[in-house]
């Protein structure tokens, strides 16, 4: 009697879970930007989870097994690719034991495949004397909203394949996302009119898609070898360069080692813009549009402030 009861309860639970999984597509993304785009495209037909919290640098996400649990139930994995997640995603996939999202499966979506142009693809010989470089090119492409549109379309395609009855809805939402980006473009562009006349020193090449999109003039990087603490000699040469230039400003991410960026800004006597690395990295940037807004407003504000910062010897 008890056994029968248990079996019935178990059966009901299994059916309930199955019913739930039919209702919506379970999407897991690696970085928060991809999660925001997936939400825009999937709407109420998907449930989206991001593995890397917004404030954390995704180059160094610890491969916590609890993240593998999130992957275990996923129908679709949307990842950045270009080796951004190379230190941890393969381990998590192995622990997740989920054949729906393993490499080559329908639920495996490398979002970089949707791009038209990849920046900083190293030509000629590369080796790790250049630091822990991204050998397939710069992976931080979601910082250009134009790329976000391409990714949204790629996601809509794949979501439509996995969940064909909502195919039209996914395509329509990707189009709405594209329209929203187009509508904002003139505003974002105008906001950086003044910054476009300045020279920019980056902490790390993280910002190359953003500066490329906004046609900002990058003249150097503080962390010239990715993942490696910059040498004092290189920091000095960047300071010298900054002092020689007319109008120069510094951009760093909130997770960078800011004492170095601050020192460079102080000794040049210029403004430092500390930006959220991805959506949700700073308060009030959880939404992708708010995130891009924040990048633009912080850079515009720093560009307007350059003159007011005194030089520190």
């Amino acid at each position: 009697m008890n056994f029968t009861k248990t079996m019935i309860v178990a059966a009901v639970m299994v059916l309930a879970t199955a019913g739930q999984s039919l209702a919506e597509l379970k999407v897991v993304t690696t970085i928060s930007d991809l999660a925001r785009i997936a939400e825009a495209v999937g709407g109420e037909d998907v449930h989206v989870t991001a593995l890397c919290p917004g404030p954390r640098d995704p180059h160094f996400l610890p491969a916590k097994p609890s993240l593998a649990r999130k992957l275990a139930n996923a129908d679709l994995l949307c990842y950045n690719g270009l080796e951004l997640e190379i230190g941890w995603l393969p381990l998590l996939l192995d622990k997740a034991r989920n054949p729906r999202i393993k490499p080559g499966a329908p639920g495996d979506l490398d979002c970089s495949n949707s791009l038209e142009h990849i920046l900083d693809v190293p030509g000629g010989n590369v080796d790790r004397g250049m630091g822990d470089i991204h050998a397939l090119g710069n992976p931080h492409y979601t910082l250009d909203p134009g790329n976000a549109v391409l990714i949204a379309r790629g996601m809509a395609n794949r979501m439509g394949q996995l969940d064909s009855k909502n195919k039209a809805a996914y395509t329509a939402r990707a189009q709405a996302f594209a329209d929203a980006v187009s509508a904002k473009q003139p505003f974002w562009h105008d906001q950086l009119a003044e910054a476009r006349t300045k020279s920019i020193i980056l902490y790390h090449s993280h910002w190359n898609y953003f500066t490329h999109w906004q046609e900002l003039k990058v003249v150097g990087e503080i962390e010239n070898r990715p993942g490696i603490t910059p040498s004092p000699r290189h920091v000095q040469s960047i300071i010298d360069k900054g002092r020689d230039l007319e109008d120069v400003m510094i951009i760093a991410a909130q997770w960078d080692h800011q004492e170095v960026a601050e020192e460079v800004a102080e000794r040049i006597g210029t403004a430092l813009a500390v930006l959220p690395g991805y959506s949700g990295a700073q308060k009030g940037t959880e939404n992708y549009f708010d995130f891009i807004d924040r990048l633009c407003s912080r850079v515009a504000e720093a560009a307007a402030r350059i003159e007011t910062v005194p030089v520190k010897e």
Partner: protein, 365 residues
Amino acid sequence: MSNNYRRLPLVVMVALVLFAVSAAAQTSSTSTGVSRLMNPSISANGLFLGQVSRDNQDPGANGIFLQEAEIQLTSVVDPFWTADLIVVWAQEEDGDTYDTLIETAALRSRSMPAGWGLTLGKFFLPFGKHAILHPHQFAFIDAPLAIDEFVPGMIDVGVSVDTALPLPWYSELVVYGTDGQASVFAADDRDLAFGTRLTNMWDLSLDGTLELGGSLVSGPDADSHLTGNNKRNIFGADITYKWSSGSLSQGPAVTWSSEIVIPEPDCNATGNPFGAYSHFQYRFGRTWWLGLGGGLTRDKSVYENNLETLQGWNEAKINVAFVPSEFSAIRAEITYQESHDSSYDDLRFSLQWNFTIGSHPAHRY
């Protein structure tokens, strides 16, 4: 003779699977065209040690050594398997000669039903947190006393099955059966070894985790003529707390790991042997780590004044590591060891450095 039959089911199972796999791959390899794109990921590392000991005069305890060099090949084999091959040239006790060890040569399933995992071949037996590490992954230069004494060289040939348990937290169960040739077991015995490990992990916060593990392994006893036991059963339990800054890239991080290893006592012994250690590591700068560790073993009953007492060792260590990139590290370490009865103690100063080249390493958690 009957002992030979005990291993038959395992041997038949392994043989059948390997036959099926090799039947599909009977051709010799080509070296031209697109085949080269199918080359495995290759990585290699070297581990060097300079050491002086206050009291230990052994040649292996004083000098500058290449501790070991390792080559690792990893690749997807076909839709069904991934394969790993790890070959190590490790320094022997005398400090001059090198042993070639195949640490891992195993197939790992890619598409087992219902999330099961299958490993076939030669692999590290999943016992605790430390016995599964390569020397270049150790928190300190030497393995803890407890590991060296009770579970050294936990590598064997066999089958391992693993699964995630349907619990509200992360819980992984591994069960394995192997040939019983791991150095902790009897080398000439015909019996198999079996073991299991359960790992549980909870997120205490967004950036911190707590892991609790339990391990059990049972195999033929190498010293059965002395111990009176036919089987060598070893139990282990471990607890690990990990935290790393979620807001600063390559920022502060903490790992605190403790483990206890308890072998089943000899039939004719009165004391209970065990070994334990606790390791604390703190990343205090972008490229700097500090380590503090302590450990002990209680083993080997001896008669003194007609009383049987446990002998053993205590140790304490401190190290500082400079890690300029993910691909190299240098560390300086001071180790103090003493025998339990305080009849002998030693102080050691060591400097160890290593490199990794080739494919990008995974950041094992």
